[in-house]
C-alpha cells in the first residue's frame, strides 16, 4: 500500500536500534522455538507417529516383567491380527563407560517388517536382516550419532544378559523417530545356549498390527482374555496409549518448559514495546504535524503499528530459520536421552514454526499497540501543544 515507503524508511531511522531490537526478538524467538520443540515432539510422537492399527501386549505387572515366547504364536492366531512380533530388551551398551544410550531389542526378523510397514526400511535390507543371523537394523539418528555405516560391525555389551554380541549393520530405519537397534532373537538365543542357559524363552513386548483399525479393541480384549489366570497376565494397549503412559511422567517437565516459554515471550513484548514507545516519543513532533496536515488517526495508528509488526515479524522469521539450523547441533548434544525421551528430539515441526511466527507477529502488534494508540488518539491540538 502507499504508506509502505514511509513505514519502511521509519524503520531504518535509527539503524542501530532497529538492529538491536530485531536481534533481541530474533533470539527470543529462537529460544521459544527450541523450547516448543519439546512438547511438540511429544505431541507429534503421540498423534502423528503412533499408528492407529498397532497395539502392544505386555505383562500386566510391568514392562520389565516378561511373557512366555510361545504366547506370541497364540497372539498371531487371533482374528484380525495381520502380524505380530516379539521384542526382548537386550540392554546393550556401546559406549566405553557401559551406559545404555539407545534402546536395543532382540526381535523376530521374519515378522518385524510386517508389523512396522510404516517404518522406512528397504525390502532388500529386510531380506538381509533375515538372511544374516548377526544382522542389525538401526534407526537413522543412532547411525548419525555414532557415524556408523552399513556393512560395519558393531559390538554391544548387554547389561541384562550375560553376553556380548557382535553385529553386522544391514539396514537403516530412515526416519527421525525410531532410535531403535534391532537384531535377530535367534542370535541371542544361540549365544545364551552356548553359555549353558536355556535359550531365550521369553517375550518382553509383543507388537501387533491389526488389519483394520476397527478391530484393535477386539484384539486387545481377546489377547488379555487368553492370558487371564495364566502365569503372565497381559495388558494390551494401543501404541498411542503406550507412549502416552510411558512418557506421561514428563508432564511436570513440560509444564516448566511452557512456563519458561511464556516468560521469554513476555520478554519479547517488553523489548518490542520499549522500542516502539521510544520511537513514538522521539517522533512526537512529526506525528503532530502529520495529524495537523490531515492524516486521520487511524492512518497514524496503522503506520506505527505496521512498523512494530514488520520489525518483529522479520526478526521472527530469522529466528525460526536459526532455530531450524540449531536443532541439528542440539540433537547431537542431548538427543534421545533417558531423561528427556521424545522431548529431546528437537525436531522443529511445522507446528513449532507456525507458533514461532505467530508469536513474533502477535507480539509485535501487541507491543506496538499501546504507544501507537496513545500517539494517534490524542486530539491534534494537544499533540501540537506538547511539542511546540
Amino acid at each position: 500500500m502507499k504508506y509502505a515507503h514511509l513505514v519502511w524508511r521509519n524503520l531504518w531511522r535509527n539503524a542501530l536500534r532497529t538492529a538491536m531490537t530485531g536481534g533481541a526478538i530474533m533470539l527470543a524467538v529462537v529460544l521459544v522455538c527450541l523450547l516448543l520443540t519439546m512438547p511438540a515432539g511429544m505431541d507429534a510422537m503421540l498423534n502423528d507417529f503412533a499408528s492407529n492399527t498397532r497395539l502392544t501386549v505386555h505383562n500386566k505387572a510391568g514392562i520389565v516383567y516378561s511373557m512366555p515366547y510361545s504366547f506370541t504364536r497364540k497372539v498371531r492366531q487371533v482374528d484380525g491380527v495381520a502380524a505380530a512380533v516379539a521384542w526382548v530388551w537386550f540392554g546393550g551398551a556401546f559406549e566405553e563407560d557401559g551406559r545404555v544410550t539407545f534402546p536395543n531389542f532382540a526381535v523376530e526378523a521374519e515378522h518385524i517388517g510386517a508389523v512396522f510397514p510404516d517404518y522406512p526400511i528397504t525390502q532388500q535390507q529386510l531380506a538381509d536382516f533375515q538372511r544374516y543371523r548377526d544382522g542389525a537394523i538401526v534407526g537413522r539418528q543412532i547411525m548419525q550419532k555414532y557415524g556408523w555405516k552399513l556393512g560395519q560391525r558393531v559390538t554391544l555389551k548387554s547389561t541384562v544378559w550375560p553376553v556380548d554380541l557382535d553385529f553386522r549393520l544391514v539396514g537403516v530405519i530412515d526416519n527421525e523417530r525410531a532410535p531403535h537397534f534391532w537384531f535377530n532373537r535367534e542370535y541371542l538365543d544361540q549365544a545364551l545356549r552356548e553359555k549353558g542357559a536355556n535359550g531365550l524363552g521369553i517375550a518382553g513386548t509383543i507388537w501387533v498390527r491389526a488389519d483394520d483399525p476397527r478391530k484393535v479393541n477386539t484384539i486387545m480384549r481377546k489377547v488379555d482374555e487368553m492370558s487371564r489366570n495364566s502365569e503372565a497376565e497381559t495388558a494390551s494397549e494401543t501404541e498411542k496409549s503406550f507412549f502416552a503412559n510411558f512418557f506421561g511422567s514428563l508432564q511436570g517437565l513440560v509444564t516448566i518448559i511452557l512456563i519458561v516459554t511464556g516468560l521469554v515471550s513476555l520478554c519479547i513484548v517488553f523489548i518490542a514495546a520499549n522500542t516502539a514507545s521510544m520511537g513514538v516519543r522521539e517522533r512526537a513532533g512529526e506525528i503532530a504535524v502529520m495529524k495537523a496536515i490531515g492524516f486521520p488517526r487511524r492512518v497514524i495508528f496503522t503506520t506505527l503499528l505496521a512498523e512494530a509488526s514488520l520489525l518483529s515479524t522479520f526478526a521472527g522469521v530469522l529466528g525460526v530459520a536459526l532455530a531450524v539450523g540449531l536443532t541439528g547441533a542440539l540433537q547431537a548434544a542431548a538427543g534421545w536421552s533417558d531423561m528427556l525421551g521424545p522431548l529431546g528430539n528437537f525436531i522443529v515441526t511445522p507446528l513449532v514454526i507456525v507458533q514461532g511466527l505467530f508469536l513474533s507477529l502477535f507480539v509485535g502488534m501487541l507491543a506496538g499497540v499501546v504507544p501507537s494508540f496513545g500517539a494517534a488518539r490524542k486530539p491534534v491540538v494537544e499533540s501540537l501543544h506538547e511539542v511546540f
Binding site: 531490537t21 523450547l35 510391568g62 545404555v100 517437565l253 516448566i256 512456563i259 516468560l263 521510544m278 533417558d338
Partner: protein
C-alpha cells in the same frame, strides 16, 4: 577524576520506568535460567546424595544398574562374610541382599509410571543409614507388607499408610513411610525380597547386594576382593561412585540448559543495550558538560558500566525472588517433577533452587548487563565535549 557511585545510582533512580523495563527484561531471563538450572541441579542432587560413603554396591559384572543385574544366593553367602564388612550388635554382617524390579504403578489421576520396587531384608535399614521410617513401622518379612518413600507416598493410588498398594501380581499393605534426606530412595517402594522374587518370577532371588564397610580403610580392600573373586563375576563399587555415574547422564541436560540460558541472555543483552543507547542519547548534553568539566573518557565509561551493572543487580534481585517463589509454587502444585532414571523408573525430584543456581543466574545477569552496556558506555565516553554541548 572518577565519577562518584552516586552519579550512577541517581541516574538509575531518575528514570524509574526505563530502569524497571531494562531490569525487568534481565529479571525474566534470570527467572528462566534459575528455574532451569534449579531443575537440573535438583535432579543431580537427588541422585548424587543417594550414595552413602561407607557402602559398596555389588552387582553382576557388566550391569550398569540395579535393575538389570542378578546375583546368586551362593555369591551373596560368600561375600557377606568377607573381612571388612561391618557387623551389627549381634555380629551379623551388614550386607543387604536386594532385588530391584520396575513394576507399573497407577498414579492418583489414572496415569501409569514405572516405579522402583526394592525387595529387601530387615538388615537393609542398617546398611542404608540415611533411610528413616517417619510414619508407621518397618515391614515384616513374609507378611505382604510394604513401606513407601516420601516421593511415592501420595503420588500413587493406595500409596498411603494403612492402604493397599497394587503392583506386579499382588497387593501389598503399606505399613510405613520413609524418608532418605531427599535422595532417590524416596522414589522407591520397599517390600520383602522373597515375596518380590516370587511375584516377579525371578530365577535369581537377588539383583545385587549393598554392603557396609566396617571402616573407611576397609572400603578399597573389600571392593578389590569382591571384584577379583574368581568364583563369581561380580563388580563392586563405592555407592557414591555408583550414584555419581547415574547423575552424570544429567550432564548433557546441563549443556542444554546453559545453552538456553546463554541464548536468553544475549537476547536480553540486546534489549538492555537498546534502552541504554537511548539513555545516552537523551543525556548527551549532560555528558558533554561532565567532559567539559574535566571528567575523563574512562570515568564516563566506568560510570555507565556501573549503571548497567546496577540494573543487572536490580534485575537479578527481582528475578531471583520471583524464581524462588515460582519454584515453591510449582513444587507444591506438581508435587515434585518426575524424571526418567537409569533404571527406567520415575525419579520424583523436589524442585529446589540452590545457592549455586542463583550464583549461575547472577553471573548471567552481570554478563548481560556488562556486555549489553558496553556499547552505549563506549559511545557515551567517546562524545566530545563541544559536540555534546552543541547538540543541546
Amino acid at each position: 577524576m572518577a565519577l562518584p557511585l552516586s552519579y550512577s545510582l541517581r541516574n538509575v533512580r531518575a528514570r524509574p520506568a526505563r530502569s524497571i523495563m531494562t531490569a525487568g527484561v534481565i529479571a525474566l531471563v534470570v527467572v528462566a535460567a534459575t528455574l532451569f538450572l534449579g531443575l537440573i541441579s535438583s535432579l543431580k542432587r537427588t541422585v548424587a546424595i543417594s550414595g552413602d560413603p561407607m557402602n559398596l554396591v555389588v552387582m553382576r559384572k557388566g550391569s550398569d544398574n540395579d535393575g538389570s543385574s542378578q546375583i546368586t544366593l551362593e555369591a551373596y553367602q560368600a561375600i557377606r562374610f568377607f573381612d571388612g564388612v561391618a557387623r551389627d550388635a549381634d555380629d551379623q554382617p551388614l550386607a543387604s541382599p536386594e532385588l530391584v524390579v520396575q513394576p507399573f504403578l497407577r498414579t492418583k489421576d489414572g496415569g501409569r509410571e514405572n516405579v522402583l520396587a526394592r525387595g529387601v531384608e530387615p538388615v537393609a535399614l542398617q546398611v542404608h543409614d540415611k533411610v528413616r521410617i517417619v510414619e508407621g513401622r518397618m515391614l515384616n518379612p513374609s507378611s505382604g507388607e510394604a513401606i513407601v518413600g516420601r516421593g511415592v507416598a501420595g503420588r500413587y493410588a493406595g500409596a498411603e499408610l494403612g492402604r493397599e498398594l497394587e503392583f506386579g501380581r499382588g497387593r501389598w499393605k503399606v505399613v510405613g513411610v520413609f524418608e532418605a534426606e531427599g535422595s532417590s530412595f524416596e522414589s522407591e517402594v520397599w517390600v520383602d525380597v522373597r515375596e518380590l522374587a516370587n511375584d516377579a518370577k525371578r530365577p535369581f532371588p537377588y539383583s545385587g547386594v549393598r554392603i557396609r564397610a566396617a571402616s573407611e580403610g576397609d572400603l578399597a580392600r573389600l571392593e578389590r576382593r569382591i571384584d577379583e573373586d574368581p568364583r563369581y563375576a561380580l563388580d563392586a563399587q563405592l555407592e557414591t561412585d555408583y550414584y555419581a555415574k547415574q547423575s552424570e547422564s544429567a550432564n548433557s541436560l546441563y549443556v542444554l540448559v546453559i545453552g538456553i540460558a546463554v541464548l536468553a541472555g544475549v537476547g536480553a543483552g540486546f534489549g538492555a543495550a537498546n534502552t541504554m543507547y537511548a539513555a545516552v542519547q537523551a543525556r548527551t548534553a549532560e555528558i558533554g558538560t561532565l567532559r567539559a568539566l574535566g571528567f575523563s573518557r574512562r570515568s564516563i565509561l566506568i560510570a555507565f558500566q556501573i549503571e548497567a551493572v546496577l540494573l543487572s543487580l536490580l534485575g537479578f534481585l527481582l528475578g531471583a525472588v520471583l524464581a524462588w517463589a515460582l519454584s515453591l509454587v510449582l513444587d507444591w502444585l506438581l508435587g515434585g517433577i518426575a524424571f526418567g532414571a537409569e533404571t527406567f523408573t520415575t525419579n520424583v525430584v523436589a524442585l529446589r533452587v540452590s545457592p549455586s543456581d542463583l550464583v549461575g543466574a547472577l553471573g548471567l545477569a552481570l554478563l548481560v548487563g556488562i556486555l549489553g552496556g558496553l556499547g552505549p558506555a563506549w559511545r557515551a565516553a567517546r562524545l566530545r565535549p563541544i559536540e555534546a554541548l552543541r547538540k543541546a
